[in-house]
């Protein structure tokens, strides 16, 4: 009778139960792993052979068949090694354990040739799947311990070597759980970032606060070296604290993509992703076979910073349109489909013109060139970016004697308050939790203007010839500015602040082009 143990396989950011069955048959000595495994799974045969002989076991001189059920689904990864080794040793009679006990345990881990356990990716979703399928104990490599214990309601056992695992299963070893020291945590580069260091950009920071508070996307336009990236990197520091649930969502994605393999802890900071502008469409939205999440999912609950957004491939950018609306992305391939969360704030930066110094005396770009350069951003993408702000370089000489910028902690508090107001407003409305997501009807309901504000808005439309679709954007941003000051109604000053959030549209009206 075959020995059966539990393991898990990944499907996107979710895991599903895989049963590893091993049987030894009389026949020519060989190892056959069936169940549609990829190369990493097939090569496990050699690792098993080496690890067993190294771990003072004997590799059975029989025909070994290992089946990964469900057998009709493609599987990949090296994390089945441990489960295979345990089931083979039990089947060969080299490990004495009760079969029923084994069924309550799931095994995850890669084997080295010296029978040590190596960390693998995707432990978090596997642990979640294990808990949901009613498994009581989970055995993982010691490096993955921190990640696995994030899941409550399941006992996690971490080991260094295969021998330890076998000894524990036979009752020869008393298990001591490893101590999680928080000092192990690798210091992230985001530690220590603060808007305090940004000098002379108070006005811009106001708009950043508004964008974060209202869930608006933002485009910063400025010459090289004016501090766009510096500001963008600090945006996660003013976003509200991650809730436990959000943190788990992020950690899950990072676990699958292998970003946690070495650090293996719950991610506590909001992610900040800044892919280079030669990024392929698939690396941005996710893809490959099997399907893995892309940058927009890695930026889930955080910031996706596209520096030099005009240099990105137009197709890649347009692929962001649907995820920006739906907050999830579904990547379909012939043999697999993955649905990944992608609720990110888009922060982008670009130069104002081909030479980069538009508005300064040294710029010699013609209006036609400037317009053509800006058209690299398609209308639908610009449409989804509510705040367009120019960033001007701060005078180098007065950098030193200027006051520091506002503290991130204070800004975060303001953001949090504005968010709370929005949560109350959209209570009971599914899928909408920020001003940016308001639809036409909601704008009518929540963004009524007094006569003075209406007059101001119509004056601006007349002067700068804004298009009709920008009208709703002004209202949404004005709503956020009012929320920041806990005002129930949109006031004139909110509208004027909103009017100054569309620098690019305003600029367009001043250009001498047909």
């Amino acid at each position: 009778m075959a020995t059966v143990v539990n393991s898990f396989a990944l499907d996107g950011v979710d895991a599903y139960s895989v049963i590893v069955e091993t049987v030894t048959l009389h026949g020519q000595p060989s190892v056959n792993i069936v169940g549609m495994g990829d190369t990493a799974v097939k090569e496990a045969a050699h690792r098993l052979e080496a690890a067993l002989s190294c771990g003072s076991f004997e590799f059975p001189r029989l025909k070994v068949v290992i089946n990964l059920a469900p057998s009709g689904v493609k599987k990949s990864g090296s994390h089945f090694d441990l489960a295979m080794a345990v089931s083979l040793l039990h089947e060969a009679g080299q490990m004495l354990a009760i079969k029923e006990d084994l069924l309550e345990i799931a095994f995850i881990g890669e084997l080295s040739l010296n029978a040590e356990l190596r960390p693998v990716s995707g432990v978090l979703p596997m642990a979640i799947a294990a808990r949901e399928s009613g498994i009581k104990k989970l055995m993982v490599p010691i490096e993955n311990y921190g990640e696995a214990v994030l899941v409550k309601g399941i006992e996690v056992y971490a080991f260094r070597t295969l021998v330890e695992v076998v000894n524990y299963l036979q009752g020869l070893l008393e298990y001591q759980s490893p101590v999680l020291s928080m000092t192990d945590r690798a210091p992230s580069e985001k530690d220590g970032l603060d808007f305090f260091d940004v000098r002379g950009q108070e006005v811009l920071i106001e708009y950043i606060v508004a964008a974060v508070a209202g869930g608006h996307n933002i485009l910063m336009i400025g010459p090289p070296g004016c501090g766009k990236s510096m500001i963008a990197k600090r945006i996660p520091t003013i976003m509200p604290e991650l809730s436990e649930e959000e943190a788990l969502e992020i950690t899950r994605i990072y676990s699958v993509t292998g970003h946690l393999r070495d650090s293996g802890y719950l991610i506590k900071n909001r992610p900040f992703r800044s892919p280079h502008h030669n990024a392929s469409t698939n690396s941005l939205v996710g893809g490959g076979s099997p399907v893995v999440p892309g940058e927009i999912s890695l930026a889930h609950n955080g910031v996706l910073f596209l520096d030099e957004i005009a240099e990105f491939n137009k197709k890649s950018l347009d692929a962001l349109r649907q995820p920006m609306e739906d907050k999830v992305v579904t990547v379909s391939r012939v043999k697999s489909t993955g649905t990944f969360p992608a609720n990110f704030m888009l922060v982008s930066a670009m130069n104002p013109c081909p030479c980069g110094y538009y508005g300064q005396a040294r710029c010699r770009c013609t209006d036609y060139e400037v317009v053509k350069y800006r058209q690299k951003l398609s209308g639908p993408i610009l449409d989804r970016i509510e705040v367009h702000k120019y960033v001007q370089p701060v005078g180098f000489l007065n950098l030193s004697d200027q006051d520091n910028g506002p503290r991130s902690a204070d800004l975060r508090e303001r953001v949090q308050k504005a968010r709370e107001i929005q949560q109350m407003r959209f209570e009971g409305v599914p899928y909408i939790n920020s001003n940016a997501q308001m639809n036409e009807a909601m704008i009518k309901e929540f963004c009524s203007l007094d006569s003075e504000s209406t007059r101001l808005l119509s004056l601006a439309f007349e002067k700068f010839q804004y298009s009709a679709r920008t009208y709703n954007k002004f209202l949404k941003i004005a709503r956020t500015f009012a929320d920041l000051e806990a005002s129930e109604h949109i006031r004139k000053q909110d509208v004027s602040a909103a009017l100054m959030a569309r620098d690019m549209d305003k600029d367009r009206s001043g250009m001498l082009v047909v």
Binding site: K372, Q392, K463, S496, L499
Partner: protein
Amino acid sequence: MDIYWLWLTALKGVGPVTLRNLVKEFGSPQAVYTASQEELKAIRGLRCQVAETILASRSLDRAKRTEEVMQQQEIKLLSFFDPLYPPGVNDFPNQPAVLYYKGNLRPPQASVGIVGSRRCTAYGKQVAAEAAAFLAQQGITVVSGLAKGIDSYTHTACLKEGGYTLAFIANGPDICYPPEHRLLMDEIHESGAVISPYPPGTRPRQEYFPLRNCLLSAWIDKLLVVEAAERSGALITAGYAMEQKRRVYAVPNSIYSPESFGTNRLLAKGAEVYLEPKQLVSLVGAQPQRQFADIDTSVQPSQHNITRKSHEKEVSMSLFSPQERLIFERLRINPEIPVFVRDLLDIFDGDSKTLLSLLCSMELEGKVMILGQTVREIRN
């Protein structure tokens, strides 16, 4: 009929002078096509080689292909026989005898050319746009070269005023160069014409530009050079214009500005100093009543204008709120350098909301201009 023109211009060794002679002798290009050896020999000054070429190449295939392309692209042919061809250009036999154009060409009338640097400054843009708009209002044809910079601003400003503009290009009229002027070119087709001495399909090349410049200067009555670097196409055009006895105006600017080396040099060489758009109108035939306008009288009214405007400003200043007045004081410390919004925060004790609100309404009233985080006063 056009096909014979196309055939004749494509012949090797038949330049504009020979072509004009031949057509004048025979009466039409078709007659040249059917001419016998004896008839050709009888023409004085026609080289034997050319006569032989004409007799040897009787194939119309190439001309037919060009004609098809022209029909597809709605490109029309303008021969020197055509009444639309300005007589002023025909005075110079070196000028191309056959032109290709797209758009609506009107009978020859008073026209002024505006040319300048591709990489121009904001000053150049302002001068070009102002002049072109003024000429458009006066109903004078505005001629330029559809290049980047000054040329494009000239055409655009004229079109915005509903004027009639001609663009002379150095490539086939079916090609748009530079490509970002696609929309501009389409607009010119609607309310003016794009004219080229080169047949469709010709890509722009450096050596093609002087001929286009020469044609442009021959077509116009007056030329305004807005900005020109030391070695530039605009200077070449100005040189041709002077040779062709056109009046050339140059816009004065700082002697240290590299964009104005050429124009300042033109002034030194005797080009007229451009001070206001009226100068371009005064001696153009279209406006006989202005023909003898004197420089002195034409300058005075505008001076008067300036004083009146500044007076208005003084009066309106008293209508401003104290905070507005403070803002204006700051902006006027150095009007050349825009002021950062953050530097005005102290007027409001750091209350950015109120400051932005005030600046916004000031901008809507046209008193200031906000670009990103800087403010400057608008003076007009």
